[in-house]
Homo-oligomer: 301 residues x 2
């Protein structure tokens, strides 16, 4: 039983093209129509062949869709939804893959007041962007969080859950506000910090950029990996999950100030106690399959 016969994917970058490839790999009978606002991306998607059809407008892409998934930066969701509003079938489910859920829910509801909207967020990705970067196993063993509004039809939520499970994901249902808080600490703040420290290093006068690059194996290189993620996508995340990000940032800053003070006054016991505690969280992440235990610092031997 296929949850949808025809899926439209709007936005064919890393995530959109991975969804398309994962559908092809796991539900080959499903027809996929893709669209991207960038004509070069459309051409590339056509050449790569992960869609059955590549449409020239968002409207034509959704004409006979059972499920429409918006895979664009969260700041662009409302505009894209408006562009396809006139052509959207009345029984289609509209979903997305954005990293903030309250703002996306509001934008989609405003643009598509009659539609069945079930926002979603597959917690998976890499630091690469574009249609060449996607791959069919990106969602395997990862969590996909659905944040259906309270009045969402149960059958629609069930169908979307089945869809993501067929792509290899585990599905969790969550309140949109809580999602935004959880992701602020597990994803948004780590990215913000990685971007910041790479910028700080770039601005130093006494240490040359060439030195920063040469000796990056001491830890810095892992931050540069995260800080290579798509700039527009991340700009939109911070602007659209402002409240939760600022809250987490404030807590982080307080904790950093406490550590700064421990270093200044030579409080070794305080430092060691924190450093020992953080090991336990790492152990749980490895045990639950959310990362590899290989000693790697991001590097293959």
């Amino acid at each position: 039983m296929l949850p949808f016969a025809r899926v439209s994917i709007i936005g064919l970058g890393l995530i959109g093209s991975s969804v398309a490839r994962a559908v092809k790999a796991n539900m080959p009978e499903v027809r996929i129509t893709g669209f991207d606002a960038d004509p070069e991306v459309r051409d590339r998607a056509h050449d790569l062949g992960f869609c059955d059809d590549v449409a020239d407008t968002a409207g034509t892409a959704v004409i006979d869709a059972g499920l429409v998934i918006l895979c664009v930066p969260v700041g662009a969701m409302g505009l894209v939804a408006e562009q396809m509003a006139a052509d959207l079938p009345a029984d289609a489910i509209v979903s997305d893959v954005g990293s903030c859920k309250q703002s996306v829910a509001e934008a989609l509801a405003a643009a598509l007041p009659e539609a069945t909207i079930i926002p979603a967020h597959p917690v998976a990705g890499t630091e690469k962007s574009g249609p060449d970067a996607g791959f069919a196993t990106l969602f395997k063993g990862r969590w996909c969080i659905l944040t259906p509004p309270t009045n969402a039809p149960e059958a629609a939520v069930a169908a979307l859950s089945t869809f993501w499970q067929r792509l290899g994901a585990d599905v969790e249902i969550m309140d949109a506000r809580h999602h935004d808080l959880v992701l602020a600490i597990t994803s948004h703040l780590p990215h913000l910090i990685a971007y910041t420290i790479v910028g700080t290093a770039d601005d130093l006068g006494e240490v040359t950029q060439s030195e920063v690059i040469k000796y990056s194996a001491g830890g810095f290189r892992d931050f540069t990996r995260i800080a290579a993620s798509d700039p527009v996508m991340w700009r939109d995340v911070f602007l659209n999950n402002k409240e939760a990000v600022l809250e987490m940032l404030q807590r982080f800053s307080e904790d950093l100030t406490a550590l700064q003070r421990a270093i200044r006054y030579g409080k070794g016991d305080d430092l060691e106690a924190l450093f020992a505690r953080t090991r336990d969280i790492r152990r749980s992440i490895v045990e639950q399959g959310q990362d590899d235990d290989a000693p790697d610092f991001g590097r293959k031997h």
Copy 2:
């Protein structure tokens, strides 16, 4: 031509045991004597067989050494040097692998006023600890920074350089103070930040630890990897490179405050400009072989 016929390794954890394994792999004729203050580690080293001899005291470990390498936390260097002082051959070179170089140089000079001391720092590692964690290729293609005092004999510097090159490392000579500044930004600050954010996440009331772990694939898991590094080693690094770490931390905090302000006031252009700039540094790190280009976020597919 072997740079040294007999090498003593004091401290048999990740780095010490990797040095031993790398010597065995690349210079099998060199005799290795190992010592560790922990009797369990000595027993394990004996079983693993990466040393020719495992001594019961630091003194007996160095009796006929041409090169002694201290692979202990930087706060323990002075004590270990005192313990072996009486048995150290007059012509032996004493070196180390610590992540701070000014404090180690001072501690070793105080404990061994007559010895030829050439501090060194191989910029390589993983988040694992202990004698089982080491491997022979850890230093391959990584930089080893030597910080010889101005009066160090040229021949001794040359011999130590050859030793590290034979283990696969590229050698750089640097002033100890400059080393400490470079490593503060490329290694010490990244570790401090990673430890902090993992601690912040652990303290949250609204988001459970189980949620932090489940959704860690969004970026957080890479921080937990770094924050799983040895607590005592890192405590000592921060206490012994206090000045440079506090300086870099101050700059980082200012930059983070600027980003916080950009988010609060919705300055998307400022965010995007920084996020685009940090991509270039990543590109250089990959080009220079200091990290793998595979899109991974620390995870194997």
